[in-house]
């Protein structure tokens, strides 16, 4: 695909990893690859925190009464869970880890456009995370991750303000990551890397970056207003003083609905790399998959009030937003079928990343289709704020986005660390997670339609059987997630060395050594061909 000469992986070659061992060579690095590793450590920490909160919640929900924790404690747990998982794990996950690491390499650049800003945004992320984590530890917050007013701005007597400060700071980290990605992709592409030669991973992250840049400032200002209202007691969102709580919801969801696409689009990108690689074949309908990312990014901004169908918005607004929500499902459908049809007449190899990718596909489709249930007005009036919604978004965020992230981590692990992951354990973990996941979250659809509201520390007894199933599934899921954490760490010391291109994949990142040198390429690559030119990469004889 390109004219870089093949560089054999010689021992002692300089890589970004052995370019310096002192702590400050990491903490003051401007190398996008090292910053990606820093991010990976950060989000893994926050994921485990969020996961522990989830585990405690599921334990509490194993019995109908609020016996393990007081309701106040339970409320703090799900708030902590939601905030940690959304703002500090999933939103930065793929863009800041895999995106940071791969985008410059995939487009043949030496670094991100603004390396210093890149490092700065990691610090913002860590500072924001530390502040929020501190607030959650010392006193906790009990508003839910949605911070609905006037509860959050007037009534809650927990550490809302500090938490908001942390999220506010983290928001700027997200904006700066997006900004860096946009500018890098626009201006730093290697000679010959035209837009329609870019891998779809870059396309999706570019679309994600647009959302990050255009939506995040609105949540920043919204949360700022809540904080101001808490401190000064002026009634911006407090009806007692003339404010409108529903205005808060509009402003919150103007960000938070597009934000769900910040969470899923990067996974779409990962899947669009993995599936062609393990089918060893061009992706089906490249342009359509590329454009559908943009369609999602744009239409995704038009649907936010579908979270407010029962909040007392006007009936006309409800109908408008329902209609627009259905539109956004179409580009996702294009992608789902493009991935499926890529397998057709391919040469499919079910290695670990591919197992994660197929798991993603199945679970995302269920999550997305149940999104259509809740977009249907009549149904949403019944299932809004019940476990049906909880199941919907976990299918997409855990079954979809997290599966995609893990698939990507396995796929590029050889490139990032220079070590192979253990294949058998990899497949086993993918399988465990898939099973545990379904057992955890499928019963929640049934619970939701039965009418069990979310954010309930206690519930009527007739719901217990399904809740116990769900809790049992959650423990399998926890094991499933602990596995990769353990064996991937293990490979760092004992893993097999990875060749330059272990999966016979196309893409510039496989044209440089594993792990890559600090400058990514020995020479400036010149691109002569579009992405996914798999017909030019021979498969080794079996």
């Amino acid at each position: 695909m390109t004219s870089i000469p093949y560089i054999p992986a010689i021992d002692k070659e300089e890589t970004y990893l052995n370019a310096g061992y002192k702590v400050r060579t990491w903490l003051l690095t401007r190398d996008h690859k090292r910053i990606a590793i820093l991010y990976m450590l950060g989000i893994t920490f926050f994921f485990v925190i969020g996961g522990i909160a989830a585990t405690l919640m599921r334990l509490e929900l194993a019995t109908p009464r609020a016996d393990l924790f007081q309701p106040d404690m339970y409320n703090r747990l799900f708030t902590m869970h939601g905030i940690m998982m959304v703002f500090f794990f999933l939103i930065p996950s793929i863009p800041a880890v895999l995106g940071n690491f791969l985008i410059p390499i995939m487009i043949g650049a030496r670094d991100m456009a603004f390396p210093r800003i890149n490092l700065f945004s990691w610090y913002l992320f860590m500072i924001g995370g530390a502040i929020t984590f501190f607030a959650l530890l010392v006193g906790g917050v009990d508003t839910g991750w949605t911070f609905y007013t006037p509860f959050s701005s007037v009534y809650s007597d927990t550490w809302v303000t500090l938490t908001i400060v942390g999220i506010f700071i983290n928001g700027f980290s997200s904006i700066l990551t997006g900004l860096n990605i946009i500018v890098t992709v626009n201006t730093m592409r290697a000679p010959g890397m035209y837009w329609f030669r870019m891998p779809l991973f870059v396309w999706s992250l570019y679309a994600t970056a647009l959302i990050q840049v255009l939506a995040t400032p609105v949540i920043a200002i919204t949360l700022l207003l809540v904080a101001v209202e808490r401190v000064t007691r002026i009634g911006i969102f407090n009806p007692a003083l003339g404010g409108d709580p529903v205005l808060f919801q509009h402003m919150f969801w103007f960000y938070s609905h597009p934000a769900v696409y910040i969470m899923i689009l990067p996974s779409f990108g990962v899947i669009s790399e993995i599936i062609p690689c393990f089918a060893h074949k061009r992706i089906f309908g490249y342009e359509f998959v590329a454009f559908s990312s943009f369609a999602i990014a744009v239409i995704g901004f038009l649907t936010w009030a579908h979270h407010m169908f029962v909040a007392g918005i006007s009936i006309y607004a409800g109908i408008t937003f329902s209609f627009l929500t259905f539109l956004v499902a179409i580009p996702s459908a294009i992608k789902a079928f493009s991935w499926t049809l890529t397998l057709y007449k391919g040469s499919v190899d079910l290695k670990t990343p591919m197992l994660y990718a197929t798991g993603f596909l199945g679970l995302f489709v269920i999550g997305g289709l149940t999104g259509l249930f809740v977009a249907t007005l009549g149904i949403d009036v019944h299932v809004h704020d019940t476990y049906f919604v909880v199941a919907h978004f976990h299918y997409i965020m855990v079954g979809g986005a997290v599966m995609g992230y893990l698939g990507g981590i396995h796929f590029w692990w050889p490139k990032i660390t220079g070590k192979m992951y253990p294949e058998w354990w990899g497949r086993f973990s993918a399988f465990t997670i898939f099973m545990g996941f379904n057992l955890t979250f499928f019963p929640q659809f049934i619970l939701g339609y039965l009418g069990m509201p979310r954010r309930y520390a206690s519930y009527p007894e007739e719901f217990q059987v399904l809740n116990v199933l769900s809790s049992a599934g959650a423990s399998i899921l926890a094991v499933g997630y602990a596995l990769p954490l353990a064996y991937l760490l293990w490979t760092l010391k004992w893993g097999k060395d990875a060749p330059q291109n272990p999966f016979h994949a196309s893409g510039l990142e496989w044209k440089t050594s594993s792990p890559p040198p600090p400058e990514n390429f020995e020479q400036q690559p010149i691109v002569e061909d579009g992405a996914y030119a798999y017909e030019k990469i021979p498969l080794p004889p079996r």
Binding site: T187, I234, I236
Partner: protein, 216 residues
């Protein structure tokens, strides 16, 4: 070192690419700023449509003269900033520095007038929560609450704008220092970027002025 590459960071191919990246980065940043202020403008508009009486009432308490003068001051500062950028592009070091200093001075004038305004408003008891004279609205506390709402928006919007001004003055000072040292003779990008930011802050004020001060 070749003077042409002195300012080229290692990961860019050439200065043109670097300049393109900075420009695009700045415009992207300004786009986020538009939406940052946009959230406030939305809140402002919803309540303005909802409570026209309170909004008119609140607006009458503001010092129109101060707002108007400040608009003029900012427009002047935009002119000096634009001229500074022009001089930098023409490599006129001395003039660049002077125009930048002029911009800083005008920035301070703006902040000074704003401070006077805030002081007057404090004296008149127009600051929500801290010093708001509800007696004025004893007959109609509901209206009083809504005027407070207006004043809250006024203070939050202008304070946020002033914060941007302060950051801007800091940036311009930094750039002026380097311009004076002759660091931009080969690459005026920094002056241009600071200029973009400064003009943007000006634009925000161009909207704030009629929206806050001129409601009839």
């Amino acid at each position: 070192m070749n003077p042409y590459t002195a300012h080229l960071q290692h990961h860019f191919r050439d200065l043109e690419q670097q300049r393109e990246a900075s420009t695009l980065g700045m415009w992207t940043f300004l786009a986020t700023e538009v939406l940052f202020f946009g959230g406030l403008f939305l809140g402002y508009s919803v309540y303005r449509v909802g409570y026209p009486d309170a909004w008119t009432e609140g607006s009458h308490h503001l010092k129109e003269w101060a707002g108007a003068i400040n608009t003029g001051v900012l427009l002047c500062s935009s002119l000096t900033m634009a001229l500074a950028v022009r001089c930098a592009a023409l490599r006129m070091t001395r003039q660049t520095t002077w125009f930048l200093l002029g911009t800083i001075a005008l920035g301070f004038v703006f902040l000074g007038i704003k401070a006077i305004e805030y002081t007057l408003e404090w004296r008149e008891g127009l600051v929500p929560h801290f010093k708001f004279d509800m007696n004025r609205y004893a007959a109609n506390p509901a209206l009083g609450n809504r005027v407070q709402l207006f004043m809250s928006f006024y203070f939050i919007m202008t304070a946020l704008h002033a914060t941007h001004m302060i950051v801007g003055i800091g940036l311009v000072s930094w750039v002026a220092y380097h311009a004076w040292k002759g660091r931009y003779t080969d690459n005026p990008t920094w002056v241009e970027m600071t200029g973009l930011y400064w003009h943007f802050v000006d634009i925000v004020w161009i909207f704030l002025f009629p929206l806050l001060y001129l409601i009839r």
